[in-house]
């Protein structure tokens, strides 16, 4: 079974087609990068996969469940971290872990033990009772990722997870992603940092709601005779019609 299978997935907002008949699949344990300019449709596509948005047409299965009919089943088997920071600033690190863990039916005793272990691993032990608002952004992002996968989902969706974070923290963040992928977690990540694309097993580049290219970073660079992913992307995006900031980009 593939972790994600999608066929002809489409989403329209009125006359505007944000995602236009895209098809792909992602294997278990793969780190799958979803690239594109602002407005290319990557967030909309991801929201459909997570069960936050209904597809206009097309089919797909996430973790073996139908995205049209079984969105609630999907939610039990995925983790999600969005570009907006999504933990509660007025709760402590420990409270955030316990709160979100509880939502995924992790038994309380187990959760208690796990949360302490998690705090230790992140080196947050001494600060566990501080409100999150006082944390530096990098720490928050790492915590958010750990919280998103603490219920051991099959797939984790990361929507521009490293926005606004310094390069060193970004590096550490990707180490965490690798570590989890080795443990069998499937990672679906959107980003517009092209250097991050190099870290992915496979990338999919979206332009104007369609998939412009999909392969491993190495093959893409070879195919488009480029030094790095940034060049690949620029060559592909040259023909883009949509300017960034197209209205209706899933901001609902």
């Amino acid at each position: 079974m593939k972790a994600i299978e999608v066929k002809d997935l489409t989403r329209k907002f009125g006359d505007f087609t944000a995602v236009d008949h895209i098809s792909f699949d992602v294997s278990k344990g793969e780190i799958f990068g979803f690239l594109g300019a602002n407005g290319a449709g990557k967030t909309t596509a991801m929201r459909m996969l997570c069960g936050l948005l209904k597809p206009s047409s097309g089919e797909g299965r996430v973790a073996g469940f139908d995205i049209n009919l079984q969105s609630e089943e999907i939610k039990k088997n995925i983790g999600y971290m969005s570009q907006k920071f999504s933990l509660y600033n007025d709760l402590t690190a420990r409270e955030n872990i316990l709160f979100y863990g509880g939502l995924y039916d992790i038994p309380y005793k187990e959760l208690k033990i796990k949360s302490e272990r998690l705090l230790d691993r992140l080196g947050l032990g001494p600060y566990a009772n501080k409100l999150l608002r006082d944390y530096p952004l990098g720490w928050k992002q790492k915590l958010a990722f750990s919280v998103a996968i603490q219920h051991q989902p099959m797939i984790v969706f990361l929507d521009e997870p490293t926005g606004g974070v310094d390069p060193i923290t970004r590096r550490q963040f990707w180490d965490m992603i690798y570590e989890s992928a080795e443990g069998g977690l499937t990672v679906f990540v959107t980003t517009h940092y092209m250097d991050e694309a190099e870290y992915c097993h496979r990338v999919c580049i979206m332009v104007d709601g369609r998939i412009a290219a999909m392969d491993t970073p190495q093959s893409l660079k070879k195919k488009y005779e480029s030094q790095n992913m940034d060049e690949v992307f620029r060559k592909l995006a040259r023909g883009a019609v949509r300017s960034p900031d197209v209205p209706g980009r899933g901001k609902r």
């Binding site: 997570c50 069960g51 936050l52 948005l53 209904k54 969105s71 609630e72 939610k75 039990k76 995925i78 999600y80 971290m81 969005s82 907006k84 920071f85 999504s86 933990l87 509660y88 600033n89 007025d90 709760l91 409270e95 316990l98 709160f99 979100y100 509880g102 939502l103 995924y104 039916d105 309380y108 409100l131 969706f157 609902r252």
Partner: protein
């Protein structure tokens, strides 16, 4: 159940960690409960009356004195100058002018009939008509005294007299706070419960944490119940706070049982929170929520019978107000606090409040989308 408690615990932690909001929740009720009943005294008294006495007779002077002695009127100086009197009316320095024409006393004695004229600033129609009525009443009394004196009437009753004795129950001294405090309390509970709950959810929408909840297996009713319970609790706290303020500031002790008050508050809050939850599903940001809430609250307040009696409304407006949950709660609180009514007297209201609670919350749950269409 466990998940619901998770949300409840989280909400309570969040509320108590935002001192500004906590302060608001305590301050707002206090301000309103202390100020509004003090201000909302509709009794028409202290009417500013000016007398233009062009007669300068002993009768005109004693009439002026009689009017000035009444609790309804305060005499304003106009120096007998009609132009100045007019200016006083224009500038709100006087509400009523009594003109006593020259020859007032002479006509009364010789012709057995005389005339006076009253001019009222009728921008506030209610005050003007009551002012005129009071003045006429006092002048009528004066008339009777004069007549008795002039006629030397023997003091016995030769004709039938109907004596009307009136007594005011529950509030014999016509104290306005007793009437206003329960009404304002009802309004406050609505604001604290409904408005705060709505703003809270909309805030999660704005920050984006609601997405994180929406991708979790949390059920819709679990989420909404989790939000409802802490604000229900806060609403009950504000009832308690209100009753304490009512006692300390105005010395109001509910005539009915506290248990009945809490019972109805508990039922009502479910409906008020339903309004808030429903509202939060209809708007995107706090600004919209504020405007929307404002709109609704104005409607609730005006149509709920807080300031003007519902019985005085035209039929269509009365029907409209029967769809206003606040109407019932204002009525219930007033009845329990002032008259000591019990649950058996308020079954109709109880039924309506339950109905509102169920319908509004079901609508809210149905309207809340984890997945946008």
């Amino acid at each position: 159940m466990i998940k619901m408690w998770l949300i409840v615990r989280k909400e309570l932690a969040l509320v108590f960690r935002q001192p500004a909001i906590l302060r608001m929740m305590i301050l707002m009720p206090l301000m309103q409960l202390i100020l509004l009943p003090l201000a909302a005294d509709y009794e028409v008294k202290n009417i500013n009356l000016q007398v233009i006495d062009q007669d300068h007779s002993s009768y005109s002077r004693s009439l002026t004195q009689k009017l000035g002695a009444s609790p309804y009127f305060k005499l304003v100086e106009a120096n007998g100058d009609p132009a100045m009197a007019r200016r006083n009316l224009e500038q709100n320095k006087a509400d009523l002018t009594l003109n006593i024409p020259a020859g007032f006393e002479k006509d009364l004695i010789r012709e057995s009939e005389t005339a006076l004229s009253i001019e009222a600033d009728a921008v506030n129609g209610n005050k003007a008509s009551l002012g005129c009525a009071y003045a006429s009443q006092i002048i009528g009394d004066f008339n009777r005294e004069v007549r008795e004196k002039l006629m030397q009437l023997p003091r016995f009753n030769d004709f039938p007299v109907i004596e009307v004795r009136s007594s005011f129950w529950y509030n014999p001294f016509i104290k306005y706070p007793l009437f206003m405090v329960p009404g304002i309390l009802a309004l406050l509970v609505t604001m604290v419960g409904g408005l705060m709950a709505a703003l809270n959810i909309v805030q999660e929408k704005e920050i984006g944490t609601i997405e994180q909840l929406n991708v979790s297996p949390l059920r819709r009713y679990q989420f909404l119940m989790g939000k409802l319970i802490p604000f229900w609790f806060l609403g009950m706290v504000s009832v308690t706070l209100g009753l304490i303020v009512g006692y300390l500031v105005y010395g109001i002790v509910p005539r009915g049982s506290l248990l009945t008050i809490y019972f109805f508050s508990a039922v009502y809050l479910i409906g008020a929170l339903g309004v808030g939850l429903l509202l939060s599903t209809l708007v995107d940001n706090q600004m919209q929520a504020t405007l929307f809430a404002f709109f609704i609250i104005m409607f609730f307040v005006l149509m709920g019978g807080l300031y003007t009696p519902i019985d005085s409304m035209p039929r269509w407006a009365q029907i409209l107000s029967s769809f206003n949950p606040v109407t019932y709660f204002i009525r219930v609180l007033r009845f329990i606090v002032i008259k000591g009514s019990g649950i058996s007297d308020l079954l109709v209201e109880l039924r309506s409040m339950l109905l509102f609670g169920i319908v509004l919350n079901v609508l809210a749950v149905m309207n809340y989308r984890k997945r946008s269409a």
